[in-house]
């Protein structure tokens, strides 16, 4: 079957979709957006979290056909999404997401990938050391960004509750807590 929907602000069409395919599969294998990760396919890990009509969901549990006509935001569109939110609905400020630089580490590593414009929560994850293997990161970023949109000054318990659907196996979550606190602080300072 054919499925039409909007991903990160762009209309997308997928053809020859098998009816049992998930939104996650279509994003990853048909639309070239592998940022959303496939780690459990049963809604238990949150690695595939995307915004579906604004709401964070596990894209592995959305049948591809259910996305018809809907709007999806993935980690690939998170920076744009955050910028548009910061600029209001006009969406005219700033430039589009640049290509990341790749594997060059240039000494002041916080600037690695300089040119890639990041959302506050993305930058905070890097700065706080919240990324290790990084497989849980895209889902956590989408969930954390949405929480900060709703609740700009979350308590620790609020953060833990909002992220309780996202498993991380590397970090023990402490640096993830640090990152979300950092993003919230920067956001409230308008940095």
């Amino acid at each position: 079957m054919r499925v039409n929907f909007t991903v990160n602000g762009r209309p997308q069409q997928a053809d020859d979709v098998w009816e049992g395919e998930s939104l996650l599969y279509v994003l990853r294998e048909r639309l070239g957006l592998p940022g959303s990760k496939n780690a459990c396919e049963q809604g238990e890990c949150g690695s595939c979290t995307v915004r579906l009509d604004g709401v964070p969901v596990c894209s592995c549990l959305v049948a591809a056909g259910q996305a018809e006509g809907r709007e999806v935001v993935t980690v690939e569109g998170l920076a744009d999404h955050a910028r548009q939110r910061a600029c209001g609905t006009g969406g005219t400020c700033g430039t589009s997401l640049d290509e990341a630089k790749g594997w060059t580490a240039d000494g002041t590593d916080s600037q690695t990938g300089e040119g890639a414009e990041l959302s506050p929560v993305q930058q905070a994850f890097i700065d706080a050391g919240a990324v290790q293997c990084g497989f849980c990161t895209p889902g956590l970023l989408v969930a954390a960004d949405e929480m900060l949109e709703r609740n700009p000054n979350p308590s620790d318990a609020d953060i833990r509750e909002a992220l309780s659907g996202n498993l991380c196996r590397c970090t023990g979550y402490e640096k993830i807590m640090d990152a979300v606190r950092l993003a919230a602080a920067r956001q409230s300072e308008g940095v």
Binding site: A39, C45, A105
Partner: protein
């Protein structure tokens, strides 16, 4: 971060930003937060096919027949392969013992063993086709424990063993046996005023890395294949893959794809050979991605263990002796079992000084899922048991458990039960002192003006208590883990370092085959190159097999060994650069003849700080490149009878204090805080060090209270292969983890560093168990502890 201890000498590099000792940020961080980092499961190729593996539905059976006709006839299917289709005489693989069939032949030995493989144009087509393969099994009785494995009439799991352990094991269903005998236990036992005994059980833990096994094999024009893969050791994979394909190693090119965690679970091969076989058979790129269900069958797990311990002590709390028998269940194939036995036995008394020791460790062959490497292997299981014993001993002696540990703590110079002296700092008592001195978390944090915040109570959001039945408990534990490959293994790494001018700036390129699995090796490698070469720009080349082996990303060894190899290669590059400088510019300044010249901030400087030249001018158009292997100090095997021998290179120590609150009526546990103190020798990247300690601590917490693969003892089938029923800690299960990092240099290691990744996984589990015992008054001899164990309602 509290950082204390004796500072180590840094060879140089204080003048270069981003060198060792700084918390520089990950070079792959931006790619990982934007979703652009390419994990093995993200690989894609025009025209690629999807591979699917058919796995055994029973644990132990003869294969009577396999019928693939219907599967092959399915439209969209390009290939179906079984054992009979393997191209060469080499049809087995294995880390140490080649006992694992690429595809089952004659019989299957565990639930989920690969029997056939399919390549098709869509994963669903491949799944449907695999389901059409008819396998006729004649079931055999299952061997699931020591009694059934060594019974007189036991079926041999492997009938024709010819590995190097068969000569010294008491039964062919025992993979390896290692006794450690030192002193005179019988005499020491006479001196003991108190003796405590315990029988402990450690459940089967899964690595549960989030990125399931996956990779893409692309056939190449020369008849070879290029495999993009998530692994822990490219060259070990290569050594096992190439002979099965019938290809020379240079025709099997391997590139490390992004790795979504590993923790030991990617030491063994999973889909590597299968993808290559299908790619070579079909002439098309083949991608295989396990789902979570398959992942539970696709890699080895942590060995479950039964451990019997006897500890004796004098009335003043000095250990007289330790006796232990450790039985590890290796499952159907050997994997890393021999090394796990070596660790469990040689580190079986823990970080304590005790002269009279009698330990026996064995690993069994059974029909249970194969077990092998997982973070801290062997040492983790032993630590759970010997730390429970130390608490038992303390209780019987009426001595504070921390005090008892400190009285018996090993120090630099202490002999291990293997007779090997610990020849670097062993601050065991100090770590315990530090972790005990940390401020305690406040009581009843769940209380608020609006009532109880269930998120901070046992049961969490499930709203099971508003404070009723909740009792706090505190527990301590400390552990010892060996760093690097032990027992005489030639443990080396290779680094290629190149220095040249790019865009008017000196740039170093570091090329190794090290598997970055998330630990941050790539961050540290760049830091080492900056420190040694005085440059800012460092490019980390993707890991592949075009450079020599880096060894495994395991045993807490990569910063030590590949870090050491990079440091060494950088030093050689530096010499060449200085030589070049002397040749080109030596005549302009007499200082060029001095012995002590450094590279700092992109310049050649004297040790007095005088700038001699810009690296850009020294290098000009030339590139300086070195590729060298580097080894840590050699080790030797343990004597097969006595276990004596200098088997280890280095040790890593961590201590934990766990504070838990237990709903004693429902048996639900909330870990409030899990404080850790660890000696890291030298923190090359403090942020990453703390991240490793917190992550390792949390995996230890998981196996304390929830994580266990359940195997049906009647059928040897796995009962919970999913994230619905194999639970790992969520962010609401994980407490704050304050970390106190001690830096006591190991003078034998590069920069004085210690491998750090595993030690925190050891002591975390027994500390949590001790805290739960304190809260409930129950004995708790198994981990993970389940609610029914805490309520008596088994």
């Amino acid at each position: 971060m509290p950082t204390n201890g004796v500072p180590t000498k840094i060879t140089q590099g204080s003048g270069t930003k981003g060198g060792i000792g700084e918390s520089t940020l990950r070079p792959d961080g931006t790619l990982k937060v934007t979703g652009e980092f390419a994990y093995s499961s993200d690989m894609w190729h025009e025209d690629m096919l999807w591979g699917q593996i058919l796995r055994s539905t029973v644990a132990h059976a003869e294969i009577v027949s396999i019928d693939t006709a219907e599967a092959l006839a399915t439209p969209g299917v390009y290939a179906v392969m079984t054992y009979d289709d393997l191209p060469t005489e080499v049809k087995h693989y294995g880390l140490e013992i080649r006992d694992t069939p690429v595809l089952a032949h004659g019989k299957v030995r565990h639930h989920g063993e690969p029997v056939a493989i399919v390549a098709a144009d869509h994963p669903e087509t491949a799944r449907r086709a695999a389901a059409k393969i008819k396998v006729d099994y004649r079931e055999l009785p299952v061997i699931t424990d020591e009694a059934s494995a060594t019974a007189p009439d036991a079926i041999l799991i492997h009938e024709d063993r010819d590995d190097h352990h068969i000569g010294h094991v008491p039964h062919p269903n025992i993979v390896h046996r290692q006794p450690i005998v030192r002193g005179d236990v019988a005499a020491a036992r006479e001196r003991a005023d108190v003796i405590v005994e315990g029988e402990y059980t450690f459940g089967m833990q899964d690595q549960a890395f989030l990125g399931p096994e996956s990779g893409l094999a692309v056939p190449e024009e020369d008849g070879g294949v290029h495999l993009y893969i998530a692994t822990q050791w490219l060259h070990s994979d290569l050594r096992q893959i190439a002979p099965v394909l019938g290809l020379p190693e240079d025709k099997v090119r391997m590139t490390l794809a992004g790795v979504g965690g590993a923790f030991g679970g990617r030491e063994d091969l999973s889909m590597q050979i299968h993808a290559c076989l299908l790619a070579l058979r079909t002439g098309k790129p083949v991608k295989i991605v396990y789902n979570r269900f398959e992942s539970f069958f696709g890699h080895v797990h942590r060995h479950p263990a039964k451990l019997h311990y006897e500890h004796g002590a004098t009335a003043d709390g000095r250990l007289t002796h330790v006796r232990a028998r450790i039985v590890l269940d290796g499952g159907a194939y050997a994997s890393a079992s021999p090394a796990v036995v070596g660790n469990a036995s040689s580190l079986g008394v823990g970080p304590y000084a005790v002269d009279d020791v009698d330990i026996e460790a064995i690993a069994l062959y059974t029909n249970n899922p194969p077990c092998g490497a997982m973070r801290g292997f062997g040492a983790v299981q032993a630590c759970f048991a010997y730390e429970a014993q130390m608490d038992k001993l303390a209780a019987k002696l009426g001595i504070d458990p921390v005090e008892l540990r400190q009285r018996n703590a090993m120090e630099q110079g202490t002999l291990l039960p293997t007779g090997q002296p610990v020849d670097s700092p062993a601050p065991v008592a100090e770590l315990l002192r530090r972790v005990k001195a940390m401020p305690m978390p406040p009581e009843r944090q769940w209380e608020s003006s609006e009532g109880a915040d269930v998120r901070q109570l046992p049961g969490g959001l499930s709203n099971t208590t508003h404070g009723e039945g909740v009792v706090r408990g505190v527990g301590y534990a400390v552990g010892i883990k060996n760093v690097g490959f032990s027992e005489g293994f030639d443990d080396y790494s290779t680094a290629r370092v190149r220095m040249e001018v790019v865009g008017g700036e000196p740039v170093a390129t570091v090329h190794t085959a090290m598997a970055e699995v998330g630990q941050g090796g790539v961050t540290v490698h760049a830091q080492i190159a900056r420190t040694e070469l005085g440059v800012t720009q460092v490019t980390i080349h993707p890991a592949d097999t075009r450079v020599g082996s880096a060894g495994s990303t395991s045993a807490s060894r990569q910063t030590y060994v590949t870090g050491g190899a990079i440091k060494n290669a950088c030093e050689l590059v530096r010499e060449k650069v200085l030589e070049l400088g002397r040749r080109k510019l030596g005549s302009y300044h007499p200082a060029w003849a001095h012995a002590e010249l450094l590279l700092e901030g992109g310049k050649v400087v004297t040790d007095a700080g005088e700038v001699l030249a810009d690296l850009v001018d020294v290098l000009g158009d030339e590139a300086v490149e070195v590729e060298e292997e580097w080894r840590h100090r050699a080790t030797e095997p343990f004597d097969l009878r006595t276990g004596q021998g200098n088997g280890h290179v280095q040790y890593s120590f961590a201590a934990h204090r766990a504070v838990v609150e237990v709903d004693t009526e429902l048996g639900l546990v909330k870990v409030i805080e899990l404080a850790c103190a660890q000696d890291v020798g030298k923190a090359l990247n403090p942020l990453s060090v703390v991240g490793q300690i917190q992550g390792g601590t949390t995996q230890g917490l998981g196996v304390a209270v929830m994580e266990e693969i359940l195997v049906d003892p009647k059928t040897a089938k796995v009962r919970n292969p999913s994230f619905t029923d194999y639970l790992i800690p969520t962010i609401l299960d994980t407490p704050t983890i304050p970390v106190d990092v001690l830096e006591l240099a190991d003078d034998h290691a590069p920069y004085g560093l210690r491998g750090i990744g595993e030690a925190p996984t050891l002591s975390s589990t027994p500390a949590v168990l001790a805290a739960i015992r304190a809260a409930t008054g129950r004995e708790l001899n198994r981990t993970p502890v389940r609610p029914e164990h805490l309520t008596g309602a088994s």
